[in-house]
């Protein structure tokens, strides 16, 4: 199946982003990035730290404000200031490195507050939806627990379920396993693997190279503020062309 014939779900055009550093100088972190993501894509973004991977991901739902370019999501340029970004964010789930669960709400309320307040679901409808997701991440028995009572791996699975509870069209993962103890990484990856099998559109920033190779249909290599190479998993690892990527992969082993 060729992805070129389909209409992209997310179309990034000439995206630029610069920060002002402590001295007041402009420092560029993303330099003219153009890339398309399609429905059903499981796109992994890898690369050395400081390359701008997370910044790029956070620009996609405008947690970071881009300084130039356009991002079309479902046909709308969401970088346009007239756009109601809150409405579009409902369709873009995001999973954070630090989980960011709401500690004052129980697990169930963490999941249902979005659908109830933003999508007009009744509490019962939302809880029904949430319960299915909690079963999917195998934490149905923790519905009435508070986040502080959960392990890191459990928290991240709840965070994934919370995003899914809004029934988004795309899920953004920002280093979802980087803050976890090694023995908890597996359970989170398992949930992500199932999501990918269910054809959820996913864009994942990660350092889990083996997992990327197993699950992704596209891998993007980011370094020096740009996407330097993109390929399917096999060719990405077997036939890297870019010198930076070759050096990066060498260091990985």
């Amino acid at each position: 199946m060729t992805t070129e014939q389909r209409k992209p779900l997310i179309e990034v055009k000439h995206l630029c982003k610069s920060f002002k550093d402590a001295q007041g100088n402009m420092e560029e972190v993303l330099e003219d990035i153009s890339v398309d993501f399609y429905e059903g894509d499981v796109a992994f973004i890898v690369g050395p730290s400081g390359a701008g991977k997370s910044t790029f991901l956070r620009c996609l739902n405008r947690l970071e404000d881009a300084t130039g370019g356009q991002i079309f999501f479902e046909g709308v340029n969401i970088l346009d200031n007239k756009v109601d970004i809150d409405r579009h964010r409902q369709k873009m789930g995001m999973v954070f490195q630090q989980f960011n669960l709401f500690p004052h709400l129980c697990v169930m309320d963490n999941l249902t507050i979005g659908p109830v307040k933003l999508q007009g679901l009744t509490k019962d409808q939302a809880e029904e939806r949430a319960m299915k997701l909690l079963e999917r991440v195998k934490l149905a028995d923790r519905a009435r627990s508070y986040p502080n009572q959960l392990s890191g791996g459990q928290k991240q699975r709840i965070a994934i379920a919370r995003s899914l509870c809004m029934e988004p069209d795309v899920m953004l993962f920002d280093e979802p396993t980087s803050a976890l103890d090694p023995e908890m990484v597996g359970e989170v990856l398992e949930v992500m693997r199932e999501l990918a099998n269910d054809k959820m559109t996913m864009i994942v920033v990660t350092h889990e190279m083996a997992f990327a190779r197993e699950v992704a249909n596209r891998i993007l290599f980011m370094a020096d503020r740009q996407i330097l190479e993109e390929n399917d998993p096999v060719n990405f690892f077997e036939n890297p062309k870019n010198e930076r990527l070759k050096a990066f992969l060498d260091k990985m082993i």
């Binding site: 964010r89 789930g93 630090q98």
Partner: protein, 228 residues
């Protein structure tokens, strides 16, 4: 029995205890209304200040709030009370208790604003990002996620501010308000005996501060139980 006679003279004779009782009612009334005014206005000030700090919007409103907080915190309460009574309401006939509500409320708001602002700033940025990423607006995120956690964090400080306010109202006598302190002082001036009325007033303040304190502690415990 000196004490017995003293007690009779200062509190029972001519129903003098009524000075304390009516004074206490005024003191509590002023405190309660000022706390409510202070919290409402303080929230508003804190909301403007943090919104400016986080988003860069509302420059003029923020400058005004900052000026307000600086002036109120930088001048004595007694002077503020006198200014509200003798300057702002100089030509209008307003009941003194209303003047006290306004003066103490405005004063408390400045302190409450800074307490709540500190609370909001203490909440991790990830919380607002999580709210935003689900599609909540800035105001909704504040209301559902940031403020509930912020208030819990600053509850001891807020409770302390209320206790300070309760005692601070004792300067209401400067505009001839009959509050608890002034009630005790009136008895003293009539009986020429200072010990009994002044210590009684002090004991009553202490009693209410302790009640207040235990209520705040109880609330803290309840909030704490709700998540761990």
């Amino acid at each position: 029995m000196r004490i017995r006679e003293d007690f009779y003279l200062n509190f029972i004779k001519d129903d003098r205890y009524m000075y304390l009782l009516s004074g206490l009612v005024n003191t509590l009334l002023i405190t309660i209304v000022a706390v409510v005014v202070g919290i409402l206005l303080g929230f508003l000030l804190a909301y403007v200040r943090t919104t400016h700090d986080k988003t860069g919007k509302w420059k003029i409103a923020n400058a005004f709030c900052q000026l307000y907080i600086t002036v109120i915190r930088g001048t004595p309460m007694v002077l503020q009370l006198l200014i509200v009574y003798f300057v702002i309401f100089a030509s209008v006939n307003v009941p003194k208790i209303i003047v006290a509500f306004i003066a103490f409320g405005l004063n408390s708001a400045a302190y409450v604003a800074e307490i709540i602002r500190a609370g909001i700033m203490s909440i991790d940025k990830g919380q607002s990002e999580a709210g935003a990423s689900l599609g909540f607006s800035y105001t909704q995120t504040m209301l559902y996620f940031i403020l509930p956690q912020a208030i819990k964090n600053v509850l001891p400080a807020l409770g302390n501010e209320m206790i300070v306010l309760l005692k601070e109202t004792s300067v209401a006598g400067y505009i001839a308000m009959n509050d608890l302190t002034r009630g005790a002082d009136i008895i003293r001036s009539q009986t020429y005996s200072a010990f009994m009325p002044l210590l009684m007033a002090a004991a009553i303040y202490l009693f209410f501060v302790m009640i207040f304190d235990s209520l705040v502690k109880k609330l803290e415990r309840n909030l704490k139980n709700s998540d761990h």
